[in-house]
């Protein structure tokens, strides 16, 4: 029967006697725990951000860019030569069974004017399918129709950022804006989507019928040319099929010989970003692991101080043994002391780690997510470190000879 409350009391007292030393010893654990928590919080925030972005660009998405990815080992850069057409867009929807929906995209950056306000933004000429492909909702108004696309109606949908900058509090629906001096009627506002993967504002956008973009706003080297084709596969399992079917179809349509390179590139955005999310996750775990090394260094600090403490308190140990302290009474006393150091350090570390992550969120505008699981894990780990590194000094203390310890000066 070991007397835990009094052992605790003895340990607390011993730690209080050397406040400065106890504090410095704890510092190692504090830094370790707060680093582990902050690293994991920042890392988890980053993966969450990417996951949100994946959701925001729409799932099961492929994009087709003109130009080959690689030509004879030299990267030409996708999107350099205009090779995609409206015909390709329609053919993909018609002939690739794994594809659910397709939207062409042709546009550029242009100045938009409303009254005396003006704003430079990305203009995308597309079809109503675009909203379905990119899983974009309308905040208000309506989408332009197939008919309006065919007839080249001068109507547009505004992204939230454009609305904020041009209209302020005014309801934009029904108002006239001028894009490159061409007047357009605003018929709808897109629901906000936030930042893209690269940090660009996805809401800084105007959608217009593709026909207008091609003929009146940006022009094309040949009729019906499009910059990008957005494709939505039927499901994530269908993505590889969709990619293969599209590649086959476009090679056929573009009359590319068996030895020739593709003159287009199919990119699986979801896959790219999931890979990025995965690598982010691994990175944050790695950072956490590195941070936990500092916890172990903190543990070595505890061991060091406990060894000093055992030597300093040899007489005290002798007195305790002389009046009947057994091996485990002495061991537990020092283990509990080490454990107290590491757990208090752990607790302060949690406070600093959580507080630091929150501050980082605010100042760096970077989302951080504190997972209670990791907090508990870091705390338990600091406790384990305390027990592990406290054991050897405690073991040493318990093996002292009572009479030698009493005579120690």
């Amino acid at each position: 029967m070991i007397n835990i409350p009094s052992t605790l009391k003895i340990s607390f007292r011993a730690l209080r006697v050397n406040k400065m030393r106890s504090a410095l010893t704890m510092l190692g654990i504090i830094i370790g725990v707060s680093a582990v928590i902050a690293m994991l919080a920042v890392g988890k925030g980053a993966s969450q951000k990417i996951a949100d972005q994946i959701a925001s660009i729409g799932s099961n998405l492929l994009i087709i860019l003109p130009g080959s990815t690689s030509a004879g080992g030299v990267r030409m850069g996708a999107g350099t030569q205009p090779t995609l057409t409206m015909g390709d867009t329609e053919a993909i929807l018609r002939e690739a069974p794994a594809v659910a929906d397709v939207a062409p995209d042709h546009g550029g950056v242009a100045q938009v004017v409303y009254g005396n306000q003006n704003w430079a933004t990305g203009i995308r000429g597309t079809t109503p399918n675009f909203l379905n492909v990119r899983e974009w909702q309308l905040a208000s108004g309506r989408v332009f129709t197939e008919q309006e696309v065919k007839s080249g109606a001068k109507v547009c949908l505004l992204g939230q950022t454009v609305v904020d900058n041009l209209f302020g509090d005014i309801d934009p629906i029904g108002q006239i804006v001028r894009i490159k001096k061409v007047p357009f009627t605003v018929i709808g506002v897109l629901a906000p989507k936030g930042q893209s993967l690269t940090g660009a504002d996805q809401d800084d956008i105007i959608l217009v019928p593709i026909t207008v973009a091609q003929r009146q706003l940006f022009g094309t080297p040949f009729p019906g040319m499009v910059r990008i084709i957005h494709v939505k596969a039927k499901s994530s399992e269908d993505l590889p099929d969709a990619e293969r079917q599209i590649t086959q179809l476009l090679r056929q349509r573009h009359r590319i010989g068996p030895k020739q390179e593709n003159d287009f590139t199919v990119r699986n955005l979801t896959q790219v970003m999931q890979a990025r999310e995965e690598s982010q996750r691994v990175t944050s775990l790695l950072l956490g692991a590195i941070a936990s090394v500092s916890l172990i260094v903190g543990g070595i600090g505890i061991m060091n101080i406990m060894l000093v403490s055992v030597t300093e308190r040899t007489r005290e140990i002798g007195i305790r043994m002389a009046v009947g302290a057994r091996t485990w009474d002495i061991r537990l006393q020092f283990i509990i002391e080490a454990l107290t150091l590491s757990l208090i350090g752990g607790m302060i570390g949690i406070i600093i780690g959580v507080g630091g992550s929150k501050m980082f969120s605010v100042f760096a505008e970077w989302p951080t997510i504190i997972s209670p699981f990791y907090v508990v894990l870091a705390f338990c780990f600091s406790g384990l470190v305390g027990i592990f590194f406290g054991f050897y000094p405690a073991y040493k203390a318990s093996l002292l000879d009572p009479i030698d310890a009493l005579r120690y000066e």
């Binding site: 006697v17 007195i319 305790r320 043994m321 002389a322 009046v323 009947g324 009493l406």
Partner: protein, 230 residues
């Protein structure tokens, strides 16, 4: 069966090339309920002997039976249990915990035998009272005079109600009056509770309280007188 049965024990300290013979083949039997004074000049091996019979130190050779069990064959924790429950030890140098109150110093032996906090406190208080330290319970050991520290050490030795009290010069720092009080206390414990008392002293009047006087010189027993007094 004698309570303490020492058979041919020697103690040799090895200091580099020189070996100091602190005890030379001592044999001695002490029965339950005896009141013994050990006397002898400084350096004659009294403390060394006391440490051995107190199960703190081991003899270089020889056998020591405490209450029938061979101390040489006992493990650390068994020895600790004997020191805790069977023996109350007053050290020559007091050996109090520094930066610790008189009360907590006296409570110390009870930390290791499962006495509840409340009872620890009560027993420590009454033990301190019996050595005349009422009102000094909260003083730190280093805030007490030498004599007061010595009395805290005596209180600590009494607190576990051990059947044997070993006291190494328990009155060395006390004035005549306090010495007499402590000795009355020992006498009372011996007479009423049949507690075995073995103490070391240089003073004849202190030895006068005992019923057996053992004299040491150069590590040997030179005289063992019984039945004087009372």
């Amino acid at each position: 069966m004698p309570l303490i049965d020492v058979q041919q024990i020697t103690k040799v300290y090895q200091l580099g090339d020189v070996s100091v013979k602190a005890l030379c083949a001592i044999s001695l039997k002490i029965e339950n309920g005896e009141f013994i004074a050990i006397m002898g000049p400084s350096g004659s091996g009294k403390s060394t002997f006391m440490n051995i019979i107190g199960c703190l130190d081991k003899p270089t050779s020889g056998r020591y039976l405490f209450d029938g069990s061979d101390v040489g064959s006992l493990g650390r924790d068994e020895l600790a249990a004997i020191r805790n429950k069977k023996i109350g030890f007053v050290f020559q140098g007091f050996n109090l915990l520094p930066r610790t109150s008189a009360l907590e110093n006296v409570e110390l032996p009870m930390l290791y035998n499962g006495v509840t906090a409340r009872e620890r406190m009560q027993r420590a208080m009454s033990s301190l009272k019996s050595v005349g330290l009422e009102g000094r319970e909260r003083h730190f050991s280093n805030q007490l005079s030498g004599g007061q520290q010595q009395r805290v050490a005596v209180a600590r030795a009494l607190v576990n109600n051990a059947p044997v009290i070993l006291a190494d010069e328990p009155t060395g720092n006390l004035d005549t009056k306090t010495s007499a009080e402590i000795m009355e206390l020992f006498t009372k414990l011996n007479a009423e509770a049949n507690i075995t008392i073995i103490l070391i002293t240089h003073e004849a009047d202190i030895a006068g309280y005992s019923r057996r006087i053992i004299k040491f010189r150069d590590g040997c027993i030179i005289n063992d007188e019984r039945g004087k007094n009372i």
